[in-house]
C-alpha cells in the first residue's frame, strides 16, 4: 500500500509541472503587453527599466524557473516562518500582485477560508443528502420514489448554478426575505445571534452548490447499488437469515461505496469551479472572486498563482481518490 501511494505521489509531480508549464506558456505567448497602460509620455529608457523591474527582460525559461522557485521554494518557506518564527525567507522575492502591491499568497490566505467553508460544507451537505436517496431508489427500483428521484437529479444536473443562484435569491431573499443575499465576509461569530446570522447567510450558497453534488452522487450511488444488489453474495446473506437491514446497509452498501468514494473525491475540483460562479452570484469574498477580480484588473501574477492553486487542488484530490480506491479495492493495488 505504501509503495502504491508513493508511486502515485511521484506521478503527481510531472502532472503539476506540465500544468504549471501550460499556465506559464499561456500567459507568456498571449499577445498583449503589461506596459500598455503606461502613459506614452514616459521615455523609452524608463520603460525599459520598469520592464526589468517587473522581471520581463529575461528569457522565457529563466522566468519559468524563477516562478517555480518562488512558488515551490520561497512560499513554503514563508509559511514555515509564519508558524515557527524562523527567518528562512527573509529578503527573498515573493510573488507580488500587481494590483495590491503585496504578496499574492497573503491575499490568498485571507480569502481561502471563505471558499473552503462554503465549498466544504456544501459538499458534505450534498453527500449526506445524496447517499440515502441513491440507496433507497436503488432498493426500490422503478418505484415512484425512484422515478421522481431520477427526474429531480436530471433537473439538478441540467440547471446551472448561475441560474439556481439568482432564482433562490429571488425566492428566499426578495420575495420571502428569509436570508440576506449578500455574503458578509467581515462578519465574526462571537455569540449565539451572530452564529445564527452566519448560518443564515451560508444557507443559500451552500444550497446552490450542494444541489449539483447531490444530483451527481445520488446517480452514481444508485447505479452502484443496483450492480451489487443482484450479486450472489447478497442471496447468500439473505439465505443465511440476515435481516434485510443488515444485508442492504452493511453488505451491499460497503461494496457499493467503492466507486462512489472515488466519484466523491474526483467531484471536488468541479465544485471549486462551480464555487467561482457561486461566489460571484452571492458576492462571497473567496479565491474564486479574487480570480475574477484579478482577471478584470489584468493582474497576471495573481491569475497565474490562483489558476495554479486550482490545479494543485485538482491533482491533490485525484491523488486522494487514487489512494482511497487502492485502500478500498485490493485488486487495484497490484495492478
Amino acid at each position: 500500500m505504501l509503495t502504491f501511494t508513493i508511486r502515485r505521489l511521484i506521478l503527481a509531480i510531472p502532472t503539476l509541472l506540465f500544468i504549471s508549464l501550460i499556465i506559464f506558456l499561456l500567459l507568456e505567448l498571449a499577445p498583449g503587453d503589461p506596459m500598455a497602460q503606461v502613459p506614452l509620455t514616459v521615455p523609452p529608457e524608463v520603460k525599459e527599466k520598469m520592464r526589468q523591474a517587473l522581471g520581463l527582460g529575461e528569457p522565457m525559461h529563466v522566468r519559468y524557473w524563477k516562478w517555480l522557485v518562488q512558488f515551490f521554494w520561497i512560499e513554503p518557506q514563508v509559511l514555515f516562518d509564519h508558524y515557527f518564527g524562523t527567518a528562512f525567507s527573509e529578503g527573498k522575492l515573493r510573488v507580488i500582485s500587481w494590483q495590491h502591491r503585496s504578496p499574492v499568497m497573503d491575499v490568498v490566505v485571507e480569502r481561502l477560508p471563505q471558499t473552503l467553508w462554503v465549498v466544504g460544507l456544501s459538499y458534505i451537505v450534498g453527500i449526506l443528502i445524496a447517499l440515502p436517496i441513491g440507496i433507497y431508489s436503488a432498493y426500490k427500483q422503478y418505484s415512484i420514489f425512484d422515478q421522481a428521484g431520477t427526474f429531480i437529479t436530471m433537473i439538478g444536473y441540467s440547471i446551472p448554478p448561475f441560474f439556481t443562484g439568482p432564482l433562490i435569491i429571488v425566492l428566499f431573499s426578495v420575495q420571502l426575505g428569509w436570508f440576506p443575499f449578500i455574503y458578509d465576509t467581515t462578519h465574526e461569530v462571537t455569540d449565539w445571534d451572530s452564529f445564527v446570522y452566519q448560518l443564515r447567510q451560508m444557507i443559500m450558497p451552500v444550497m446552490v452548490l450542494a444541489m449539483q453534488t447531490t444530483a451527481q452522487i445520488s446517480r452514481y450511488m444508485r447505479a452502484s447499488m443496483l450492480d451489487n444488489l443482484n450479486q450472489d453474495y447478497v442471496r447468500t446473506a439473505r439465505a443465511k437469515g440476515l435481516s434485510e437491514k443488515v444485508v442492504v446497509l452493511v453488505h451491499v452498501l460497503r461494496n457499493s461505496m467503492i466507486p462512489v468514494v472515488t466519484v466523491i473525491a474526483l467531484g471536488l475540483p468541479a465544485i471549486f469551479g462551480g464555487a467561482i460562479i457561486t461566489e460571484q452570484v452571492f458576492s462571497v469574498n473567496g479565491i474564486g472572486g479574487q480570480l475574477i477580480g484579478a482577471i478584470q484588473a489584468n493582474d497576471l501574477p495573481t491569475v497565474q498563482t490562483l489558476t495554479f492553486m486550482f490545479a494543485i487542488l485538482i491533482v491533490f484530490f485525484n491523488l486522494i481518490a487514487d489512494v482511497l480506491y487502492g485502500i478500498l479495492d485490493p485488486r487495484i493495488r497490484y495492478d
Partner: protein, 303 residues
Amino acid sequence: MTDMSNTEPTTPPHSQWYDVWHQFKAHKGAMLGGIVFIVIILGVFIGPWLWPFDASYIDIRSRNQGPSWAHPFGTDQLGRDTMARMMAGGQTSIAVGLTAMMLALGLGSLVGITAGYFKRLDGILMRLTDLFLALPVLPLLLVMMMLFREPLSAAVGPERGIFILIVVAIGITSWMPTARIVRGDVLALKEREFVLAARSIGTSNKNMIARHILPNVLSPIMVSATLGIANAIITESALSFLGLGFPPDFPTWGRLLNDATQYLQDYPERVFWPGLAISLTVLSVNYLGDGLRDALDPRIRGR
C-alpha cells in the same frame, strides 16, 4: 403442414437504424427531449423572421415593461424586446454549443482512434489525456478569454473573434472523455474477427479505420455528442455570466442572465427566461443522450 410451407418472413427486413429508431421511440423522455430540442432550435433560428421586433431596437419609452401581448416576455432597461433578445441569444448559444461540440468530438475521436489503433502511440496519447483531465478547466478558460479576446477581436471583428475564441477554448478543454471512451471501444474492436478478416485480405490502415473501425464506434461518439452540446452551452453561459464572454451589447443566454441579475431587486422576473432557456435546452439534450445510449446499445435494444 400448411404453415411449414410458408417460410417467407411476415415482416419485410429492416435495417439496423430502423431498430435503433424503434427503440428510441419507446423511450418517452428521449422523445420528449428530442422534440423540445428541435422546437427550441426552430424557434431560435426561424423565430426572428416572424417576430416584428429587432433584438437591438431601442425603444426607450417602453422600457422596463412587464409581460404584455406586444412583449410577451417584457422589455429590458433600454426598451428592447426580451423575446427578440432571447431568440438572438439562443442563436449564439446554440451555435457555440454545436460548433464546440463538433470540435471536441473531432479531437476526441482522432486521439481515441489513434491511441486505440496504433499501439505505439497509445501510451503517450493516454498520458496526454490524463494530463489534460487534470487541468483546472474553468479558471483556464477565464484566463484564455482574458488574454486573447482583444487581439482576436481586433483581428477578425469583435463578435466573430470571440465566437472563435470560445469555441476553440471549449473544444480543446473538453475532448478527453470522448477520447477515453473511443479508445476503449477501438481496443475491443481490434480483437474481433471481422477486423482480422479485413486485414487478411490486405486492407490498409486508412481503409480499416474509415470503413471498419469508425462506423462501429459511432454510437459512443453520438452519445458523447449530446453530452458535449450540454456541456458547451453551460460553459459558454458561465463565461458570459462572469462577464468574460461576448461583448455586452451582443446577447447570449448567459449574458442576458447576467444583465438580469443586475436588476434583481426591482425586476426579479427577468432572471427567469434566459435561465429557463438554458436549463430546458440542457435538460432536453441530456434526455436525448439518455435515450440514444439505450437505443444504440444492442444489448438493450430488442427487449
